[in-house]
Amino acid sequence: MSNLIQFNGESASIVENQWQLVNLPASQVEERKQAGKVVLFKLTGENTVTDTQIAETVIPATGKVIVPLSVFVTRHSELTPRINAGEVGVWLATHELLEDLTAQQTNLNALPIIAVFVERFADGRIFSLGTLLRTRLGFKNELRAFGDVLRDQLFFLKRSGFNSYLIRADRNAEEALASLNDFSTPYQGAVDEPRPVFQRYSRGN
């Protein structure tokens, strides 16, 4: 069964995934270590993808694909006909820069989908990325979160502009659906409802 939750207008439901996710081949570069521990987070703006990985990335010849940002940028001319056909989306990791995307693709709305990969639940950069894509860059199409996506992030993801959530494979998307409505009257303005509570209600005295 599908683990993809998607908004269609006001209501969210579980739908079939139309998009194939294209991954980079595993890197030959050793994991960075610090004090004997593998570093858990990549730093923002850090270049973590090699030219070989980009070149060796296998993009399926047909169908709708979501390609990694680095592949999208480097192999753009190869992808152009499919971009024009609306068959290409982009995914970025939380440490990658939106500037790298907009430098290549000025009209983001030519992309039917942008996805953000969150490696670990605790990585809240995804919320700022979603907010910027919606409010600063005017992206209007599907914005998907995938990776370590669990039900307790959904309310925040929704408020940060995400309208599609690929729940981690070992979890139940049906149960996760309920968490989109954990709170009915949030205080502050955000992407889904820009007006803070003091603009929406007359709170009397």
Binding site: A122, G124, F127, S128, F155, F156, L157, Q188, P196, F198
Partner: protein, 560 residues
Amino acid sequence: MYQYDEIDQKLIDERVTQYRDQTRRYLAGELSEDEFRPLRLQNGLYIQRQAPMLRIAIPYGMLSSRQLHKLGDIASKYDKDYGHFSTRQNLQLNWPKLEDVPEILAELATVEMHAIQTSGNCIRNITTDQFAGVAPDEIVDPRVMAEIMRQWSTFHPEFALLPRKFKIAVSGTKDDRAVVQMHDIGMEFYKDSSNKVAIKVWVGGGLGRTPILGTVIREHLEWQHALTYCEAIIRVYNLHGRRDNAYKARIKILVKALGIEEFKRQVEAEWAHLKDAPNTIPESELERVSKHFAAMPYETLPAHDAGFDAAIASNPAFAAWVKRCVHAHKQTGYRAVTLSLKTHGIAPGDATSTQMHTVADLAEAYSFGELRVSHEQNLILADVKLSDLLAVWEKARANGLASPNIGLLTDIICCPGGDFCSLANAKSIPIAQAIQMQFDNLDYLHDIGELELNISGCMNACGHHHIGHIGILGVDKDGSEWYQVTIGGKQGNDASIGSVIGPSFSAHEMPSVVQKLIEVYIKERTPEERFIDTVRRIGIAPFKAHVYAEKNAAKAEVVA
């Protein structure tokens, strides 16, 4: 103080439901230990040495009698009949059961309280001056903006999972009592040249492993923009703060790495987009919240009270208490009172259920049913009539709440330390108790005068040891507990970070180390000088020489 409307109430009720389900899923094995951790932390629940610790939010330190009665009841029902008031104006329970926490939250919600964002990597409880609204030197009551910011920061979706915890303090007085310079963001409200409320904004202060005072990022910000400007700062931090190393993840490290000029440039560039966005605070919202903090219905009273004057003249114990624990008030005939939670030999900041009920009753009878928690871990009755002080003192004294030691050496600021906290390297409470017993002579204590002594059981610095006139830090050396001593730290406008005097000491040496520091001060001081002034004038060398004299002599003997 602020009263919830149905919107506020619904939010915390929904939180109880959400957390109840999260706990259920954890106990049912549907959430792993690692997955539950950020969820319980966002709700103030730590897993400690002995039991979980639950930190209950006391927004900017304000409590009603009804709330404190409830806290007393909760401490009896779910804990061992006491609670610990923390340096961030919150209340910590040391012995609740994990499975009881949803029930505790449900009880708290009935008195407009919660534990939201009292820990975890998010915006924490916003702190301020315990004398807000009553201090004679106050320019702007900071509680209004603190409440507006509390609402804004509660479940802020973009800042739900920051690189590290994020602490904001606000102040509205010339003499800072909220330590705004040691917070991730510090805000000082003032009136600008056109008599409008403006904000001076500091960023990147903090204690912990890398103690550093904040830097001014903006001298003048119109109050309407408080939220959007914070959003700009925190967005830059959320995107660029380090997440690979918890010790380098606070905003202070990012500000240092970029330099304040570059950090400010990025913040201002971000703010250019956010300025005047819907989160800009309208006049109407400021007015609405301000009404909750309107002046109390004070009586018109004379500046003097004959009964009070007579009691001072005839009762030296009462006079000593008034000198230390009673503070000036902007309203003629009223005073603010500090009820000391620093009785010698009791863990600093601890209050029993009975004491909580007593203080709640005192607040009800003498201070309009409200009270405050200070970051020095005492309780404050903010609005007591001069003529009621004697009655307040008698009841407080009978309940161990009237130690006349506020601002003195034994008014020790202290974290729970190794007795409770799993982060601690060393115990802190027994050190505080030993020092209090060493200086148990009141006349001597008063002669030493104003002195702030802070103890932290580890680098995380919950006891704010860096800004203590004397700071004590628990360190671990080869598995045993040692204590490093700093002097010359200070809170306030001229805040400073203390200097380490030398190699660390064992626990049993600590009372005599403090004793020796005091001896140097008594010998060197001018009549007007406080301990901190003497340290600043003569430097740490004479203190160091005296404290280590015996050790050095012993060493010399061995060498000879």
